[in-house]
């Protein structure tokens, strides 16, 4: 495989020289370029790079603007910020375009580890179109009613953290971006944050409010491409019910919040496919006709399914492994079901029941059997849910 090309941009020559030496050991693994300032870096971007690592505050063009330029010109590039800047205004500006964050100062091993993860996230996507969809995703579509409700709750001083978390957990766009940020070193210095409520605590309601109400990170769904076959209200309903079903299946307090979050962000895959080139309306019609499962119809049209798209974005954003795993494996269950975790099985069962495809391939019954082997109580709850 070709060595991935990594472009480092900073306004301090000393900093670049330090990086160049400390990362020298990896010169056979990566092709690295170190450039002083965004203006001089642009020609290198034009030559094509896989990963860009940039400082934020620089004289002339700042890092956020540079990343926006890179995103527009080369949407499949992984964009990482390496900054020690504590001012959140500029950070919020870069949030919409950056995949990863590295705090300055970071140790060499931490930088190497983060870059290796970024390289792995890229390698995990084989399909070029999927890569374009995932890395080029400009704004995260939010559902208009949910967005309005979250905004209203954030403006109302009487809203509790619980109420806001409940509402956010019904919008894949807001929930996944919230997790993205709360897992970045920009806000979090602790363990992976795998659920919406913890993410809100890490970020703080004030920052979250600024993000939702002020920044341009979110785009309202119906301002994006309009799909004749898909009603926004259908998507809204889906996200809420998936999240609730997952909550019902996983009652262990250690799992509930994560399960609900998996359910909430699951549909980000569908939203990504809709943004990409391809005909999602055809998928929707096929699913409605009852001849194929959603994933199968997607693979027939795009070559990949919503689960893979969601997992690819989760990997690009460095979300916790528990979420990535459930998203990545739930749709390809038939390949090797013994390796699939309970969370992925639960997600697939919920989705199939929700789509009314429980009878289509007889899969739900066998999946409930698989789940029962792993956790009898979970199996009983799934059976009860399937009977309704």
């Amino acid at each position: 495989m070709k060595r991935p090309k990594i472009l480092f941009v900073d306004d301090e020559a000393d900093l670049l020289a330090g990086l160049r030496l400390s990362l020298r050991k990896l010169r056979n693994e990566w092709d690295m370029v170190f450039v002083e300032g965004a203006t001089k870096a642009w020609p290198h971007a034009l030559e094509g790079v896989d990963i860009v690592v940039t400082d934020l505050r620089m004289p002339g063009m700042n890092g956020a603007d540079f990343l926006k330029l890179v995103q527009r010109g080369f949407p499949t590039t992984t964009r990482i910020v390496l900054s020690g800047y504590a001012n959140q205004d500029m950070a919020l500006e870069a949030i919409g375009v950056a995949h990863g964050w590295l705090h300055k100062p970071s140790t060499t091993p931490a930088i190497v580890e983060a870059l290796r993860r970024a390289v792995r996230a890229r390698a995990a996507i084989e399909d070029d179109r999927l890569r374009r969809i995932v890395f080029g995703a400009r704004a995260i579509p939010s559902y208009p009613r949910r967005y309005a409700e979250v905004s209203r709750l954030l403006r109302d001083s009487a809203s509790s953290m619980e109420m806001i978390a409940e509402s956010v957990a019904c919008d894949p766009g807001i929930a996944s971006k919230l997790l993205h940020l709360s897992n970045s070193p920009l806000f979090s210095r602790s363990l992976p944050v795998a659920n919406v409520r913890d993410a809100l605590c890490v970020l703080g309601l004030e920052t979250f409010a600024q993000l939702v109400l002020v920044s341009e990170v979110f785009e309202i769904f119906d301002r994006l491409r309009v799909h004749a076959g898909i009603e926004v209200s259908w998507l809204e309903e889906r996200a809420m019910r998936l999240s609730m079903m997952m909550k019902e299946l996983f009652i262990d307090p250690r799992d509930t919040a994560t399960a609900a979050t998996v359910g909430a962000i699951h549909d980000i895959g569908i939203l990504l496919l809709m943004q990409g080139e391809g005909d999602y309306d055809a998928v929707q019609q096929t699913v409605a006709s009852g001849t194929m499962s959603r994933a199968a119809a997607e693979i027939a049209t795009y070559g990949f399914c919503h689960g893979e798209a969601a997992a690819a974005l989760a990997r690009a954003w460095d979300l916790p492994e528990a979420l990535i795993e459930a998203l990545a494996t739930h749709e390809r269950l038939t390949k090797n079901p013994q390796n699939v975790g309970a969370m992925a099985l639960g997600l697939k069962i919920s989705e199939d029941l929700l789509e009314g495809q429980g009878d289509l391939d007889g899969n739900v019954i066998s999946m409930i059997d698989d789940v029962t082997k792993q956790d009898p109580d979970l199996g009983r709850r799934a059976t009860r849910m399937a009977r309704r």
Partner: protein, 437 residues
Amino acid sequence: MNTVEPASVETLTKRLDRAQRKIAILESMIEDRTRSLFIKSAELERSKAFLERILDTMSSALIVVDGAGRVQRVNRATTALTGYGIAADAMPQLRDLLDVAPGATVEDLVAMNGDAHMRCKGGKSIPVLLSVAKLQTTEDEADGAVCIAVDMREKQRLEMELRQAQKLESIGQLAAGIAHEVNTPIQFTGDSIYFLKDAFADLCRLIDGYEGLRACAPSLEDVSARCEDLAAMREEIDVDFVVEEIPAAIARALDGVDRVATIVSAMKAFAHPGGSEKAHQDINAAIQTTLEVCRNEYKYVATVDLKLGDLPLVYCKLGDINQVLLNLIVNAAHAIEGVVASSGATGRITIATIVEGEDLVVTVSDTGGGIPDEIRERVFDPFFTTKEVGAGTGQGLAIARRIVVDGHGGTLRFESVVGEGTTFELRIPVGRTEAGA
């Protein structure tokens, strides 16, 4: 004639009646008068008590003196403030309470209106705002004076708090910038040392190889194989590169540590410049410290030109002067930022120091947009700010002016040309040996 006799009884009776009616009338009149007198006196009593209550409720000290400055009357606030008893004779003379020259007239007292200090029982001195008015009972001659003294300690405390708050605000703003300033050298120092660690391990491996070669020198057939291994290792390690880069890495690491140390000691010098009392201070050094602390505020938008003259040590409160310098430099940077925005162009901040006569003069000039005519009057007003809500409290220049004028007996002025820039001039006496405040 005996005609009088029978009538006289009747007449007498009538007279008696009249007299009795008169008495009754008189009695009722007396009663009326007594009653109205009683009411009047009660009213008088009430209004006296009312006046007393007003005097005692007053939060300001009230002292009434006669023409000779003898205390005639005080209110409760006066005793609370000074600690002396309420009775006029328990009070000392006015000159014991205030700085009044012996033989001062009422007019002299009136001239004392304004800031003053009141001496209390036990010798404590309290800052007060004094208001003296002539007390006149006849047309032409003053019988005394009414002095009202307002305790200024709370106001002074609030002013100090405001000044402290502004200092904290500016330090808070600086903190983010300082973090950024420190993060960069730490990053490249760490990276350089990480390289040195790897390079040392590599060189040790090579040395081991050479050692092995030396050890097996007697058996010659082994040597050529080992030489080949060593050449490969040398190639892999890229010894020429490593040897060339090691001194640079060491220099960079030392430079990084130096930069962090400079920033940290500047922060220390800025935040704790040694007490709040006036002392003889090096103003050029203070300017350099302040520039170091707020480097992040200007380095992306301006270069700094220093024209520092030979200065004697200046008698001042260094912490306060630092705060003034910081405000002027940060304002200059913001003015330039407003012009160059994110165009990548940079402006210039020129800081000059010079001694003119008895005065130290510091000028801070920027190449910003200048101050528009219509707001020049208000630049030093407290709470006046052109920055967006949340970006500044509008206290910076107001407090800077107070520090310079009230605290150091100096002046703070500016000249500004719209479209060209602004120059602030700070001027304080160099060798003042007594506190001005």
